[in-house]
């Protein structure tokens, strides 16, 4: 079973964290910090696997992948296959890439609820639900369409062009 999915940037700021068993906020923060401190001490060109009993209890493994400014992290137990989990991260990233056409950290930050929608299509209650990014995309787009249709309030155009300059 998958215990947690995390995305954090290279400074340790969490961008998305989802734990499949309830944990109090403080514990979540502690784990995120713990994971980050392990990850940032890893040299480059080493394996993507970690045994992380000390943080998540016995028989916990962690797979991570480093993309540009982001770490994608999956924590799971012995009933999953490490290499397959690595590919699951790949699926997630591929899907995000299709979703946001060339995804970057910013997309993840600003589309928080969509991120969760994507993730929920891939991992459901700690089990892998879908691994085809096309299928996931289909599901997410269906949601988007329906939401757009049911969303009576049209979005107010945003005047955010200037925010970056300040």
């Amino acid at each position: 079973m998958i215990k947690a999915v995390m995305m954090m940037n290279t400074q340790g700021k969490p961008r998305l964290a989802k734990f499949y068993d309830f944990l109090p906020v403080e514990k979540q923060q502690e784990l995120i910090r713990g994971v980050f401190s392990v990850l940032c001490s890893r040299p480059e060109n080493v394996s993507n696997f970690l045994e992380i009993d000390s943080l998540f209890g016995p028989d916990s493994r962690l797979v991570y992948k480093h993309y540009a400014t982001l770490y994608f992290v999956l924590v799971f137990d012995g009933s999953e296959n490490e290499l397959a989990m690595l590919d699951l991260i790949q699926v997630l990233v591929e899907t995000l890439d299709k979703c946001f056409s060339n995804v970057c950290e910013l997309d993840i930050v600003f589309n928080y609820s969509k991120m969760h929608a994507v993730l929920d299509e891939i991992v459901f209650g700690g089990q892998v639900l879908e691994t085809s990014s096309a299928e996931v995309m289909k599901a997410v787009e269906e949601i988007s369409k329906l939401e757009a249709a049911s969303n009576a309030i049209s979005l107010v155009p945003k005047s955010v062009s200037g925010w970056r300059g300040r």
Binding site: N9, K18, A68, Q90, G125, L146, R164
Partner: protein, 945 residues
């Protein structure tokens, strides 16, 4: 231009199905992204919390605004701040009819609330309604929420609907309903036990996705109860066959692999079903063989399946052909440049080695490479493998490696683990006691605070008991070497407390034993210890007791004792100590110094820590006295049981006996609560005929005040006494407690009058209880040994023949002579001691490092005598120093030899065309915290390649 791109991106975000947010939120995210410190970030978040609190109180918030507030709350909580003030708004939002709002509400509550939260009750109703919705997206959202929000009590409220959904027309809903049911099963198996057949039914679902989802709950169910699913073996195999034959729709392909995740799950299930089942395994052989042939080892996912095949093969009944294929796959993994694959290879090797131990042999170089690798994960995995393949022929090399690594890391969690592994291996395979002591010293020195206290006691016992044979000469040699090594170490700063306890105890017992060191020298050292670690009372206690022993030995041997001035001041200091234990020890030491030689000798006899203490349970020596008392008119003793309703006499017992009460079945009513039941505990050691005992105690005997007073005065186990009072012959038995000095005939030094800290408990621990402990450790070790050697006895002789044809000597070597402690079984192979007489220290430095590798991997069959000689060298009784240096030199050569191999890694690091460019880009991004540029060209560049 840049600006334009940004605008475009933001507009795009807004249009993407309404996931956009307002400027305020963007500003928040941006300012947090730019925060330079945690404090600044906290300040920003706190002010945001204030804003949200205020806003949420406003009346008539537009729904769109509300949705954004909720998202902001989620964001705040992700950053580690409490957003509970807004939970209720999230709950309210789940009630909304608008799908977008409802989904947001569900998302927020699944992230905010746990299943036992008070607010859940407000949601259950909504969930029930949503599960019945016509809109499948609403149903999906509700199913999603169920996984997190439903607890044991609320499961029945939604269960019927979820079961109905198993037949929903949309496969996405069916899939999620199965997953939800699976979740219920995990939370409370009993609540869904009647629905398990549904999982079997769904296995035949038309949609492969639903079938794949069903495998998850089935995997759990099968791992709980294998036997009731044996009938599915052929179904699983045929599904796997169909999958591999690409019968599934193309949409299930992933990287040209047909439904790999389904394949992996199936293989995992097959591993469970096939383990130890011949007929099931045979059905699987075909498809597994096909998989090996078909799997594309160039992709990650292909390798994942290959690895899963290896795992499966290692679990089911082995087939030689498949093992061969697995070994081949492993060697591909190990030869790969990817650390991930190496990791999997090592893991697979660790699994396969249980079945065919010689498989490691061909990969010895690869294994050594992994051991030298900078990657910690890989290194640890390799140590795990080495741990699995340790035998007495390679234990020294492996444990040495482990200790070196242990010293080099800071991670206490792993340090503890590897230290305990070292100890375990050393205890199990130690070729000689001397080596064992050296190894333990190292472990204690570097991880002393992390190891179990039992380890220390084992070490002390080993030193005390020696070879377990009547070879006093060897024993004293061993002790001398221990004393010498401790005297060398003792002056080093900051030794762990546990190690100091061992040192103190050994110096006290054996410091002056063979006259090499004077009493004043040893006692000076002990005073230094007590002085340097003055805050550690346990160590001080050990040191004082050690001093006491040393002086006692001096007095007993008739020499004049000069108490060192620093020792005198130590005693005086401790006489006024706050710790009563230390005070007591100091007073005893003082009193002992005043006694004459004869008395001292009987208090603390020389080297008696291993003597069994005879407890005269029957107190037969009091018989005369009692006879006298009865004759002069005293009333006979009445057992405590008889009096228990009236007197509370066991206060002393409560402190004196820490035995666990036994769980013997009782036939009478319980007496009033008492702190302890000593006589029951004593039955653990001495088999007392229970029935007769109970009938005895039933005899009505008048109460006696006299005996009751006696009992409290002399702290005896009155019940034990009562039952056997009439029988004059006492049963000499090992003592279970050193706290019964008044009834010991003679208290050997280990147990003099009060507990000698932990030492007493180890050294004077009765053999009987130690042996009774054996079965706990035993099967584990046996299993390990069996898996390493493939059956303990036969393989041992194999190995022995390879190590120089000492077979004829086997008979003698099987005695526990080389085994440090009473090692439970003949599994322990001690043959290296057989090489005692063999040559020679001179050849050591010239040994080819590869020989050593072979020693490490024990290439049993192909080996010439060489490695055996090397191993023999380590284990012979040579002085400590030569042993260690020879190992060191070997290891250094070893690392030299593997440097050549590490070159490949270096070249590898410089690969990758855009890495520099990417780094620069990343640096910019890091500065910003958030990357506002529209594109990062190197991002995910390896994605679709």
């Amino acid at each position: 231009m840049e600006q334009l791109k940004t605008i475009g991106r933001e507009l795009a975000m807004g249009s993407q199905g309404g996931f956009g947010q307002s400027k305020e939120f963007l500003d928040l995210v941006k300012s947090i992204g730019e925060a330079r410190s945690k404090a600044e970030e906290d300040r920003i978040v706190l002010s945001e919390i204030e804003i949200l609190k205020r806003r949420l109180l406003e009346p008539d918030i537009p729904k769109r605004k509300m949705k954004e507030y909720i998202i902001r709350l989620v964001y705040i909580e992700m950053l580690g701040h409490d957003a509970s003030f807004g939970y209720i708004h999230a709950v309210k939002m789940t009630h909304d009819d608008n799908l977008l709002l409802k989904r947001t509400g569900y998302l927020a509550v699944t992230l905010f609330l746990n299943e036992d939260h008070d607010l859940i009750i407000l949601i259950v109703n909504t969930i029930q309604k949503d599960l019945r919705s016509d809109n499948f997206l609403v149903v999906c959202a509700a199913l999603n929420a169920i996984c997190r929000l439903i607890n044991e009590e609320t499961i029945p409220a939604v269960l019927p609907q979820v079961v109905d959904l198993l037949n929903h027309q949309k496969e996405a809903v069916r899939k999620k309903a199965i997953m939800a049911l699976h979740r219920f099963h995990r939370k409370s198996p009993s609540s869904v036990s009647h629905l398990i057949s549904n999982f079997r039914k769904r296995l035949c679902d038309n949609d492969p996705g639903v079938m794949g989802a069903t495998l998850c709950p089935l995997f759990d169910l099968i791992s709980e109860d294998v036997t009731s699913y044996k009938d599915l073996v052929s179904s699983f195999v045929s599904i796997l066959k169909q999958v591999t034959e690409r019968r599934l729709p193309k949409s299930y392909d992933y990287h040209q692999m047909p439904a790999p995740f389904i394949q992996i799950k199936l293989l995992k299930i097959m591993a469970l079903l096939g383990s130890g089942d011949k007929s099931a395994s045979e059905i699987m052989y075909m498809v597994l063989g096909d998989l090996f042939r078909k799997c594309d080892s160039s992709t990650n996912i292909g390798n994942a399946i290959l690895y899963e095949c290896i795992r499966c093969i290692s679990c089911i009944l082995p087939s030689p052909k498949l093992l061969e294929a697995a070994a081949e796959a492993i060697s591909k993994f190990l030869k790969s440049d990817s650390h991930n694959l190496k990791y999997m290879g090592i893991d697979g090797l660790g699994r396969l080695i249980k079945i065919s131990p010689d498989i490691a042999e061909q990969h010895q170089l690869a294994v050594i490479d992994c051991l030298e690798d900078p990657d910690d994960t890989l290194k640890r995995k390799t140590f795990e493998l080495l741990y699995k393949m340790t035998k007495s022929s390679n234990v020294e090399v492996i444990v040495d490696r482990m200790i070196d690594y242990m010293i080099s890391i800071n991670d206490n969690h792993y340090k503890t683990e590897i230290a305990s592994r070292c100890v375990e291996l050393a205890e199990q395979f130690a070729p000689s006691n001397q080596w064992f002591i050296q190894t333990m010293n190292k472990v204690f020195e570097h991880a002393g605070d992390l190891v179990n206290i039992k380890v220390a006691h084992n070490l002390m016992r080993l030193i005390a008991e020696g070879f377990g044979e009547d070879d006093d000469d060897a024993d004293s040699k061993l002790r001398l070497s221990a004393v010498e090594s401790y005297l060398k170490i003792i002056s080093e700063p900051k030794l762990p407390s546990l190690f100091l306890q061992v040192i103190s105890w050994v110096l006290g017992e054996y410091g002056t034993a063979d006259g090499k060191y004077s009493a004043s020298y040893i006692s000076g050292k002990l005073c230094d210890v007590a002085d340097a670690y003055s805050s550690d009372e346990t160590v001080k206690g050990y040191a004082v007791s050690a001093l006491m022993k040393i002086y006692a030995f001096e007095i007993a041997s008739g020499r004049k004792v000069d108490v060192l001035p620093e020792c005198q001041s130590l005693i005086e200091e401790l006489l006024a100590s706050h710790s009563t234990d230390l005070q007591q020890r100091a007073y005893e030491l003082q009193a002992l110094l005043a006694l004459d030689a004869r008395a001292v000798e009987s208090i603390i006899p020389l080297d008696a820590s291993c003597e069994d203490i005879e407890v005269d349970k029957d107190l037969s020596f009091l018989n005369g006295y009692i006879q006298q008392a009865i004759e002069s008119g005293a009333q006979p003793y009445v057992s405590e049981r008889e009096r228990s309703g009236m007197f509370e006499t066991t206060d002393y017992h409560s402190q004196d006996h820490h035995e666990v009460p036994s769980h013997a079945l009782r036939f009478e009513a319980y007496e009033l609560p008492k702190p302890s039941v000593p006589q029951q505990a004593s039955t653990e050691l001495v088999p007392v005929p229970e029935p007769s005992y109970y009938s005895e105690s039933h005899q009505p005997i008048p109460t006696s005040l006299v005996s009751e007073r006696d009992s409290s005065e002399i702290k005896l186990r009155l019940d034990g006494v009562k039952q056997k009072w009439g029988r004059p012959n006492y049963q000499p038995t090992a003592s279970s407690s050193q706290n019964t000095p008044s009834i010991t005939q003679q208290a050997p030094n280990g147990t003099a009058t009060h507990s000698d800290g932990g030492v007493g408990s180890s050294s004077s621990k009765p053999r009987s209880s130690y042996e009774s402990k054996k079965p706990e450790v035993d099967p584990e070790k046996q299993r390990l040994a069996a898996s390493l050697f493939g059956g303990s006895s036969s393989s041992r002789s194999d190995r022995k023949s390879s190590s120089g044809g000492h077979k004829p000597a086997k008979g003698t070597s099987n005695k526990p002579a080389t085994i440090p402690r009473e090692n439970p079984t003949p599994v322990q192979p001690p043959p290296d001691l057989l090489d005692f007489g063999e040559p020679t220290a001179t050849s050591v430095t010239t040994i080819d490092p590869f020989k050593e590798l072979e020693g490490l991997l024990d290439s049993s069959s192909s080996q010439d005598g060489g490695s055996a000689d090397v191993m023999g060298l380590y284990s012979d009784g040579a002085p400590v120093t030569t042993t260690t240096t020879s190992v060191d030199s070997l290891l250094s050569e070893l690392s030299d030899s593997s440097k050549g191999n590490s070159r490949t890694y270096q070249s590898q690091t410089s690969k990758g065309p855009n890495s520099k460019e990417a780094l620069e880009k990343d640096a910019l991004v890091r500065q910003m915290g958030v990357n506002p540029t529209s594109q990062n060209p190197t991002l995910f560049k390896d994605l679709l390649g």
